[in-house]
């Protein structure tokens, strides 16, 4: 499989969607069965190694899903190659910065 083209992107997009869907379901269930956790409780959970790992995996899935979706839209609608390359670079850089920021926050609090 080539990196994020064709089938690999198709599979990655669906696996990341399933992970995000599971996350939404778990959070919804948690909110439904008990009192809403406070921000401090969420932060304490994410600050544990396991919680931090879950946040990192979900953030990775979110950014990967966002990149493949954005790339598909740009391939379909932005035809001038230079403009497409510029917008793709901007989107990829933005997602990389967000991913790095997420990793730094998790590492600061959880590790």
């Amino acid at each position: 499989m080539r990196l994020f083209t064709g089938q690999s992107a198709f599979v990655a997009q669906r696996i990341s969607a399933l992970l995000l869907l599971a996350c939404v379901a778990v959070v919804a269930l948690r909110l439904a069965i008990g009192p809403s956790p406070t921000f401090a409780q969420w932060r304490a959970w994410a600050g544990q190694p396991l919680g931090g790992a879950v946040v990192l995996v979900l953030a990775g899935a979110l950014f990967m899903h966002a990149w493949i979706g954005a790339r598909d839209v740009l391939i379909d609608y932005v035809k001038p190659f230079a403009l497409r390359l510029a917008v793709m670079t901007f989107v990829a850089a933005g997602l990389c910065v967000l991913a790095a920021w997420t990793a730094v926050i998790v590492a600061t609090h959880a590790l």
Partner: protein
């Protein structure tokens, strides 16, 4: 019955125009193609393709009241007026309702629409079991009218690179054929960001296929075949 027909003659017109026609239908005028043939008797400058007149050759694919269809099997009974006839959307127009299908057939050619089998041929023919033959149902019936590909937004966005539903339906027809030996190569050819994976499952192809086929399903099955092939 009133008709509104897309007219364009590149030798005379700088841009396309719509032309209105009135036609008194005869008892034998049952399909849109019957009316078109009668209109051509009134105005012999109208250009369109047709051949078999019974939905087999795929020559008279066109856009009828906003949906792609074959004129020869689209009934006049109950059709809304004016009957608007346009060439297949997104294809370059040669003249009036005649479009250039060069790109369409180039994509068809790219999927190698023939059996690839280097094994020595048997004395009579390469046999299939009834079950193997049944796997071709819903695939081999395509008549290459281009109604699906011309109505596919993914093909509008990337006409040179996305193969389109008709070519992909045909690709699946050869991937599942028990007599073919090139399925791995066919799947590797399709594993590309454009050729197959531009399909967004919009399903316009399935909606307009005049033969009642389901190219969107065939495309999804190719994606599953690819997954099995690579795992």
């Amino acid at each position: 019955m009133r008709f509104r027909i897309y007219r364009f003659d590149p030798d005379r017109d700088s841009k396309p125009r719509w032309q209105e026609y009135e036609l008194d239908l005869h008892a034998n005028d049952r399909m849109v193609l019957d009316a078109l043939v009668r209109l051509k008797e009134q105005d012999d400058s109208i250009a369109f393709r047709r051949s078999c007149r019974e939905g087999v050759c795929g020559s008279d694919g066109m856009n009828i009241n906003g949906l792609n269809a074959l004129a020869c099997i689209t009934p006049l009974a109950g059709i809304s007026e004016p009957v608007t006839l346009a060439p297949l959307p997104s294809f370059p127009v040669i003249r009036d309702l005649i479009v250039d299908m060069t790109q369409f057939f180039a994509h068809y050619d790219a999927i190698k629409p023939y059996l690839v089998n280097e094994e020595p041929p048997p004395e009579r023919e390469r046999l299939q079991s009834p079950a193997e033959r049944q796997r071709l149902d819903g695939l081999y019936e395509c008549i290459l009218c281009a109604c699906c590909t011309s109505f596919c937004p993914s093909a509008w966005w990337n006409p040179e690179k996305f193969l389109g539903p008709a070519a992909l339906l045909q690709a699946r027809r050869f991937i599942v054929d028990s007599r073919d030996r090139a399925a791995p190569q066919r799947l590797e050819f399709l594993d590309d960001v454009y050729k197959l994976f531009r399909c967004r499952t919009i399903m316009n192809c399935t909606q307009v296929c005049p033969k009642g086929l389901n190219p969107a399903h065939a495309i999804e099955r190719i994606k599953i075949d690819l997954l099995r092939h690579s795992s």
